[in-house]
Each structure stands twice: as C-alpha cells, then as structure tokens.
Symmetry: C2
Subunit: 229 residues, 2 copies
C-alpha cells in the first residue's frame, strides 16, 4: 500500500542524440521522424534478457527526465509556445517541462535493438525529442489497443502545427553529414525559435551533430547560413 512518502527512481539508460542543448529539440516525439537517437543502458541495466521480445514492437514509450529544465522548478500555469507565448494554460494541460515531477513521455519508433561490444544492448529510435544525456527511467512497449485512441480530441493542441520552409545558403548543406541533413531540415521546419521572436536579421546558433548551425528566419522560410564544426 502507498505510504505517502516520496519515491526515488534511478536512470536505467541515457539518451545519445545530436542535440547537446535544449535548443532545437522538437516539441513532441514523432514530429521529426528523421531525428534518430540511441538509448544506451546504464551499466547495471545492460541486460539483453530485459529486452527480449521488444524487437517485435514498432514503437516504444520512453519515460525520462527533463534534465535540462530541472533548475527552473515548476509553476501552476505555463505559456505554451503553440499559443504564441501569450495565453496561460495549466501545467497539467500541457507537456511543458516545468512540472512538479519533471518527467517526460515520448513515443518513438524502434528502429533496431543492437548489440554494442562496449555498451551492451542499444536501442536505435526515430522521432526523438530528446536532448543528449537525458536520463531514461522506463521503457515500455507501445500497445496499439490501449495507447492508440483515434477518437481522442486534442484541446488547444489538435494537430502538429505549422511548418516552415527550409533553405540552405550556398555550401551550407554540404557541411552537414549527408545522413543528418534530413533530421536538421525537419527540426528547423518546426521553428525552434522561442515564441515572440520574429526578427529576420537575427542569427540563431544551433548546436547539432557536433556543428554550430547558424540560421535566420524570414517570414515562413528558415535560411541555413553555415554549419561550422
């Protein structure tokens, strides 16, 4: 029986992804399908047995910590970026990181369960909205009959929202490894700027895959200026 006390949870794994900071992380899982990540288990949880049968599921849930937002604490209301940063909503009506328990929930596509000589079993996933280093507390199979609710209606967030066009200045695309380009384009198309900001001259710097990607946004178009290592 519950005893009213707090509960201490321990990371079973960490995320390895191309996004070392919060900037640019898609606002939900699945929005940028091209964005891949790896789930690397902590040494005490490197057990192939614990994953037996997982490869039969196309999608999995990750429960993780908003480790990049911990210091800021929580507030009963938040301003969802989707509402332009103006309207306040209850924190429990949003997926905001600033929650009493800073737990995130992501449905990602399971690409492969791999075996790494040094790291043990590693999960490769697509559609990740996860910062590099994010602690993961649980992995569960996505059960379509219980988790997929086509009848559900989505309040103030009924769809994935708008996307921007993405263009690369001459020579910029080639600075991004070919297998990372679609992911970068996908996440820029989701407009990573903070709400309120709409200055076409402003240059943003996005750390991505070991590069510093510089871009600006003119109207509905993102222009990638450079991508220096």
């Amino acid at each position: 029986m519950p005893d009213g006390t707090d509960y201490t949870i321990r990371p079973i794994a960490r995320i390895r992804s191309d996004l070392p900071t919060k900037f640019g992380i898609p606002r939900q899982a699945g929005l940028v399908e091209e964005l891949e990540a790896a789930v690397v288990f902590e040494p005490e949880f490197r057990s192939a047995d614990a994953l037996r049968g997982l490869e039969g599921f196309s999608h999995i849930w990750l429960i993780w910590q908003f480790s990049g937002a911990l210091r800021e604490g929580w507030s009963p209301t938040v301003r969802p970026p989707r509402l332009g940063g103006n309207a306040r909503m209850g924190v429990f009506a949003t997926r905001s990181p600033f929650r009493p328990n800073a737990l995130g929930l992501s449905c990602v596509r399971l690409l492969a369960v791999e075996k790494d000589a040094a790291l043990g079993p590693v999960l490769r996933v697509a559609g990740a909205d996860l910062m590099d280093g994010t602690p993961v507390y649980d992995i569960k199979p996505y059960l379509p009959y219980a988790d997929c609710r086509p009848e559900a209606t989505g309040g103030f967030a009924p769809d994935a929202g708008r996307t921007l066009r993405v263009e690369y200045a001459e020579g910029a695309a080639e600075k991004i490894p070919a297998d990372k380009r679609a992911a970068l384009t996908g996440l820029l198309a989701r407009d990573p700027r903070p709400p309120y900001q709409n200055d076409p001259a402003r240059v943003y710097v996005l750390p991505f895959a070991g590069r510093e990607v510089r871009f600006r946004v003119e109207g509905e178009t993102v222009i990638v200026l450079s991508a220096a290592p």
Copy 2:
C-alpha cells in the same frame, strides 16, 4: 545537465477507485471503459490553475506507481499473463509492474474536472486500471498527433485479447449498485484469474466497491455467485 544521481518524485495526487486490492484490476487502461475512478490531488497540489485547459482534452495520461507491487522488486524477465504464464519476455517488452522503476502509464478518458468543497479539483476518469490509493506523479494531455500511432504494430500483444461471458446467479446482480454493475461485468469479462488456474469449482473473492464479490469460472463463462457488503 544530468548528473547521474537518482531522482526523487512526489505524488501529486492519489487514485480513488472501487478496487482496493490488485485483484481484478484490468491489465491495461481502456479495456474496461465503464470502470471509473477519481484523481484526488494532494493538498499542496490542489490548484485549479494547474488544470486550466485540461477539460478540452478527451483523454489524459497518468504516470503512477505500481504501489501494490513494490515489495516484490524486479526481474529482467517476466511471464506475461497474455502468454498463459509460460513464456518469458523481457520486462521492458511488457507493461509488467515488476520494473526497475515501478512506474505505470495509463491513458484514461477524462469525464469531468469537478470542484469538490473539501478536496479541491477532482478529475473523474473512465477506463481506469488503477488500484485505490495509487500515487500519481504526473498528468499530461493525450495529444492525438503525437500519441496516436495507427501504424504501430504490437508484438506479442497485438490486441486486447479474449473476453469471457459474465452471468449473475439469482439475486447476485441486485447486490451491486446499479451504476457499478457494468464496470464489474466488464472487469470480470477480462478474466482476472491468475494464469494457470482453470478449476471450475474454485471460488474467487474480489473486493469491489465495498462488496466481496464471489465468482467462479466455468469454461468461457464467469458466474457471479454473491456480492456481500
């Protein structure tokens, strides 16, 4: 940045439901739509502001603790009831309670956000697979565009599984409050017996809504024998 340490989470709410023990709890949320429950916030989280906008969502996620299974610890493999209790699967390929971090995840239908004079805001939900007293750590809106994945395939658990027929012995149904009868029928139809057990003479006692519901199972039929207060 994550620092490798454990994370202590605090219940924001507790479940009030008609199931005081683990016995009879549906194996996933949504399987018994008639089964209602209430989410009652802990005193420090009784904030109507924190729920603003939630009423616009038809479904919500609850992240909670398998408080009835904590003592048993975890094991890398488990025997899912759906496989008859024979085959072993990795714990992360199942929704078993016996996990390294005993966190549960349920998508329930949001019936109403009510205001109770004594308890503050209370969420009424349907399709609950939750024991009375369960600590809840987080509540999030179900976002159809991110959480509903019609293309997902379900490994060894592709559907909700079989149901049993439910019959009531003479006079037994009347002992259950009329507004609880459909929920009881629904959860019995899901066959709450432990795997392996198939003795038509065996009488099971299910605590439900303040009653002791006695039943046995003959082939594919559940027979409710009595329901004493």
